[in-house]
């Protein structure tokens, strides 16, 4: 045991501001991801495998009208990949609660909103990473842009907004779940959203009652927005509407999801 330290000089009324605390907490979230190779490598391999299977195993059996199946599939793959990447947040939040990390943060003189904001910030940065990987894999297996570059960038931005919104859903699930295992289980509820959608197959191929759900749910709207933005007129002809139609709906869904889950997460977090 070393000698007793001199007391640290403490400025009066000290505490970290919202921005500084949020960045500090976000940085920790990113380091956790980058320094856990399993997360980086497994996630990447998983999404690549998934795409290869759909592209080459199922692809031959799935008709996508006027679009090449790969051009039809990749927007769906990128969108759902975003949700699969975001799922980890639920277990991550539950783990932080269970292991006392959240208690530590809550006992510090920082704005309480910084804890959730920092989490969302780090997770959104991870979504950028996930988007980059899935897009790269998509291009590698033959996906091509048939619209303008500006539209493609708009699709990228829209995907981030959408992913950010779902991030809050996962954070909320993590806060309510109690244990990381339960959080992981709850997060699986995105599976119906991802599969009962236009992500992998045209909605018209589903039974009528299912189409009603598949047609309007957020994932379909988002995937179709990306299709129209990246494939141009061919996708418009296939899907029946222009980019504006899908983009406004995707934004509306994102806003609705945020409007529900941000207040829920904040309320749950405040209650302790």
């Amino acid at each position: 045991m070393a000698s007793i330290p001199a007391p640290v000089p403490v400025p009066a009324g000290r505490s970290a501001g919202l921005a500084a605390s949020t960045v500090g907490i976000a940085r920790r979230g990113l380091l956790k991801f980058l320094r856990t190779p399993q997360l980086v490598v497994v996630g990447t391999i998983q999404s690549a495998l998934f795409l290869l299977i759909f592209r080459y195993v199922f692809g031959g059996a799935i008709g996508a009208g006027g679009l090449d199946y790969v051009d039809f599939l990749v927007p769906g793959f990128i969108t759902t990949g975003l949700l699969f990447a975001g799922m980890g947040a639920a277990a991550g939040v539950a783990e932080d609660l269970e292991q006392g990390f959240v208690d530590r943060l809550r006992s510090l003189p920082i704005p309480r909103s910084a804890v959730l904001a920092g989490r969302a910030m780090a997770d959104t940065a991870l979504l950028v990473w996930s988007l980059a990987i899935t897009s790269a894999v998509g291009f590698a297996v033959g996906f091509r842009l048939h619209g303008g570059l500006a539209d493609a960038l708009a699709a990228f931005g829209l995907l981030l907004v959408f992913g950010f919104a779902f991030e809050w859903m996962f954070i909320t699930l993590g806060l309510f779940a109690g244990t990381p295992q339960a959080a992981q289980g709850l997060a699986l509820m995105v599976f119906p959203l991802t599969f009962v959608s236009s992500a992998y197959v045209p909605v018209e191929s589903m039974p009528g009652w299912m189409q009603a759900f598949a047609e309007h749910q957020p994932v379909t709207v988002m995937v179709d927005a990306v299709r129209v933005l990246t494939q141009g007129p061919a996708a418009e002809a296939l899907l029946g509407h222009g980019a504006g139609f899908y983009v406004t709906r995707a934004l509306a869904w994102s806003a609705a999801i945020l409007a529900v889950f941000v207040p829920l997460a904040v309320a749950r977090y405040r209650r302790g």
Partner: protein, 325 residues
């Protein structure tokens, strides 16, 4: 002087479970206060309330003069919390963990680096400072967690069962670290279910049960309050236990208690050494071979039994190095 902690009629319930049932407690500056009690007595709830993690349902609670409900921010500026779990980030180094918390305390980069280095040094973690915390042993992680509660130079350190689950050596190292802090002038509120821990670290002990204080005082006072000394006899043969108990009934003030497994008989006696002489005489007259015999003040376990009518639940994990006191 403003008390470090002042709780009056503190109540908190979770559904139908009453965790705090009108708890009254005052901790003066310069004290290490141990809150001692069995599992479910309300210890953790109390610490979490002091740490502003829980809002009390009723009653008053002020930390360094700041009301926990009205001025939680002011309370958070004077406390440091280390919990039952080592709340450190495994994917960050020891130094990074401390630096993060120091920054969150509002220290600038240079100050945060200095205070992290100082705390690492204090806890003997400098050699491991730049390793990821996931490579640390359980004891090292707990020390790092303690360190994280220190980088903000808190006036009041809250330690919720700081050594639960640690091996005996790590436990003693952590005790030393806490002792050093106390010597440096940090006030400590400590919860524990280990009697020896409270005895070792605390200048004042509050025993709580079912969310209320059942006794308070210095370790010495509490032993005094429970009053009597104890004679403990270790017999050579198991068969002699019953006869030894009968022999001790004379000098004893209550019913002698037999512990078959350890071949011991225990009885409470009046002050002074006369009872010991009487006990020796009685054992001798009965022709009982005695391995050893002792006259000692009561342990805190016995104090708890005397004050509440029930013993403390002893932790079962002997691996943690806490055999029954």
């Amino acid at each position: 002087m403003t008390p470090t902690i002042e709780a009056t009629g503190l109540r908190k319930r979770f559904g139908r479970t009453v965790a705090l049932d009108g708890l009254d407690l005052v901790a003066e500056p310069g004290q290490v206060l141990a809150v001692l009690g069995p599992n479910g007595a309300g210890k953790t709830t109390f610490v979490r309330t002091v740490a502003t993690l829980l809002r009390p349902d009723a009653g008053e609670l002020a930390v360094a003069g700041h009301d926990v409900r009205r001025e939680p921010g002011a309370v958070r500026r004077v406390i440091g919390l280390a919990g039952q779990y080592a709340a450190v980030e495994p994917a960050m180094t020891g130094r990074e963990n401390l630096h993060l918390v120091a920054r969150l305390f509002g220290q600038d980069g240079r100050t945060a680096r200095a205070s992290s280095a100082r705390v690492l040094d204090l806890l003997g973690l400098t050699g491991a400072a730049d390793r990821l915390a996931r490579t640390y042993s359980g004891g090292m992680r707990r020390k790092l967690d303690l360190g994280a509660s220190l980088v903000g130079a808190p006036r009041l350190l809250l330690l919720d069962e700081p050594t639960t689950g640690l091996d005996p050596r790590s436990r003693i190292e952590l005790w030393d670290a806490i002792g050093a802090l106390v010597a440096a002038g940090t006030d400590v509120l400590l919860t524990t279910q280990y009697l020896d821990e409270a005895d070792h670290l605390a200048s004042r002990i509050v025993i709580i049960d079912h969310g209320r204080v059942v006794a308070a005082g210095t370790p010495g006072e509490l032993k005094q309050r429970a009053g009597r000394n104890v004679i403990e006899v270790h017999t050579r043969d198991r068969a002699a236990l019953a006869r030894a108990a009968a022999g001790l009934a004379g000098p004893g003030q209550d019913q002698p208690q037999v512990e078959e497994a350890t071949r011991r008989v225990r009885v409470a006696v009046a002050a002074g050494t006369d009872p010991l002489r009487d006990a020796l005489g009685a054992l001798d007259a009965a022709g009982i071979a005695v391995e050893d015999i002792s006259l000692r003040p009561p342990t805190l376990d016995e104090v708890f039994l005397a004050l509440t009518g029930q013993g403390l639940e002893q932790p079962t994990e002997t691996a943690a190095g806490h055999p029954a006191a």
